[in-house]
Symmetry: C2
Subunit: 412 residues, 2 copies
Amino acid sequence: MIQVAVMGHGVVGGGVTEILLKHTDDIAKKVGEQINIKKVLDIRDFPDSPIADRFTKEFGEIIGDDEISIVVEVMGGLNPAYDFVKQCLQKGKSVVTSNKELVAAKGAELLKIAKERNVNFLFEASVGGAIPIIRPLHQCLAANNIEKINGILNGTTNFILNKMVRDNMAFEDALALAQEKGYAEKDPANDIEGQDACRKICILASLVYGKHVYPEHVHTEGITNVSLKDVEYAYEWGGAIKLISSARMNGDGIEILTAPMFVPFDCQLSNVDGVYNELLVRGDSSGTIGFYGRGAGKLPTASAVVADVMDCVLHKDKRRDIFWEDSDGSNILSYKLYTHAMYVYAESDDPLNALAHAEELFGECERITKWDAADNEVVFITGELTYSDFRKKCKAFTEFADVKSIIRVAKI
Amino acid sequence: MIQVAVMGHGVVGGGVTEILLKHTDDIAKKVGEQINIKKVLDIRDFPDSPIADRFTKEFGEIIGDDEISIVVEVMGGLNPAYDFVKQCLQKGKSVVTSNKELVAAKGAELLKIAKERNVNFLFEASVGGAIPIIRPLHQCLAANNIEKINGILNGTTNFILNKMVRDNMAFEDALALAQEKGYAEKDPANDIEGQDACRKICILASLVYGKHVYPEHVHTEGITNVSLKDVEYAYEWGGAIKLISSARMNGDGIEILTAPMFVPFDCQLSNVDGVYNELLVRGDSSGTIGFYGRGAGKLPTASAVVADVMDCVLHKDKRRDIFWEDSDGSNILSYKLYTHAMYVYAESDDPLNALAHAEELFGECERITKWDAADNEVVFITGELTYSDFRKKCKAFTEFADVKSIIRVAKI
């Protein structure tokens, strides 16, 4: 009998206990041992839970219980999750978490402790909810050099952008709808400002390139500045605007960022609907591999957590070898050096003159038009250039037009 | 140092040695031990190979070498692969294979021997080439009941169907092009008759439902009867024809088949291009998860084989718990009982009369028309009904029209 504690009884935590209780026998058959929830930690009371008697408000009852060998952390946030998880690992307990903030901020340190104590620290659910990503990246692509990863890693923003594209909804209305449907939090900043997606690409890049990538070293832009006009021009260009998280090796450095980007319709990321996520991984031998599914939600995320718990049981003697080293961020190349083609939406009283100057500054540009454009709209896509070069030229261009919006074209 | 033998130096085998030689140090770093190719078995000579001195024509040199702990089987076909693999497992060697024919025909028996001898028998590369499918299905979805799996599992037929849809090519021309490009064998029967896809869905269904599913118990239709007209009518209906392999639980039985099907454009399987594969898996907790990538090819397949070899090294003391029981096929429901909506293409001198009789026989039907249809074409989609019921009604319908083509509508 394996004794497990679950820290946090929110949406995901509730799902974890639900699955562990509902599938007890199936799970025991698969891992060869019964898994029992001995304690659930939450500051709230849940008198109606079928395991109400196992709730505790005291972390001490978990850390002090030597029978508990696996601890599930689904509280979210850095504090007190970080302190609790660290103590558990130090005490020789394996930890499973869905907490991307924790892994992105403290992954290297926690993995080091796990390695020293020969226990597991698993976090499949922290990226892509139910979609198996961490394990396939780590294992199945082990024989590949991963050239690049590109993905839609945040369902909330994808839902909002989708509503803007499909239903011509303004950003604010789409956000309100996402909140109404429970896809977005009351304070949606983490999602719409891109931090959530940024944390996930940090975790993936750390795993793939072997050194911790901290969110503070990663250029991150959210979708709050994306307008309906941008969406419409993207469509005329032949694509959709998506919040893309991207990482690739460039020489010895890593290019990594999260930002809204133009994605052409012939790239499957342009077709990812609603709250779904998709990750494309390019290995030197495998070619491009795609992983698709619901990136969030109670049961999808909880099922990934439970699978990790089962994996802990199967690997209780020999820990899984997931590991990456700490890093000072010196391996991250500045976002100013990444090259992209750029979409520019500007307004000018003399649009032809502005366009002529655009070509002079940026070289040959692809002009985008739409039938109901106002006379003063000047919209084009530049050739590929570094971001710093682009900003310099863009500054010069403001002499001839009022630049309202700029968006990268994805390189997938 | 881990000593490995590779049986077969064809396309995939060549890729395996290439990757193992090229990435020796990276791989050693990842698994903690050097992996050395000690022997390569092939009846042909390869004097130009950098490891020409390690080639042998004698299986005895592999089975008799106690230093060799992992054997890679990439010969393909049942004989002598089955005999060789069985002997290796019985001798306590782990085996990695990309041979779907072998796993589909003998998986239960070989897994049993592997279990008894406490060695690994891994076959990630047998389904979906480089796409991680076996392991994610087994591990990451462990906490789910898998409700259904649907996929495009054969790249050759997908390439052919794609050419028919996109370039209006006749089946024969598309097949010739596939052969020219090396996607189809000289004898393409295994691909175009559906056997290759059938073997793969058998392997997946065995894994997911825990009992061996033998190809001879699975209804299989190829794409040789799909005409350009069918492709055009599918487009008018709002979808594409794809060779779909499908398995789902229905009560205690399994519904499983491989056949060309109408797939609506809003299902992502309709958009899978060229030689790519995609598998959609629906778990009760996870929702739908998708896996996408190149389903064949030298390096993609070889990279999956090498990843399995690495996994064998990591699990040399504790074997991976992939296993399913043997079965007599009594758990497979007859394909005659599966319900589908059906596409019918018929010709009649009195099409209005034929349509009226169609509605009488099949109930309300969705008529499909196209602008350049001949006057005698009668084309419609029936409601959902069992295949045996459909065939009965179809027979009665032949009194009023000449039925030229019938195709299932996918239930994904």
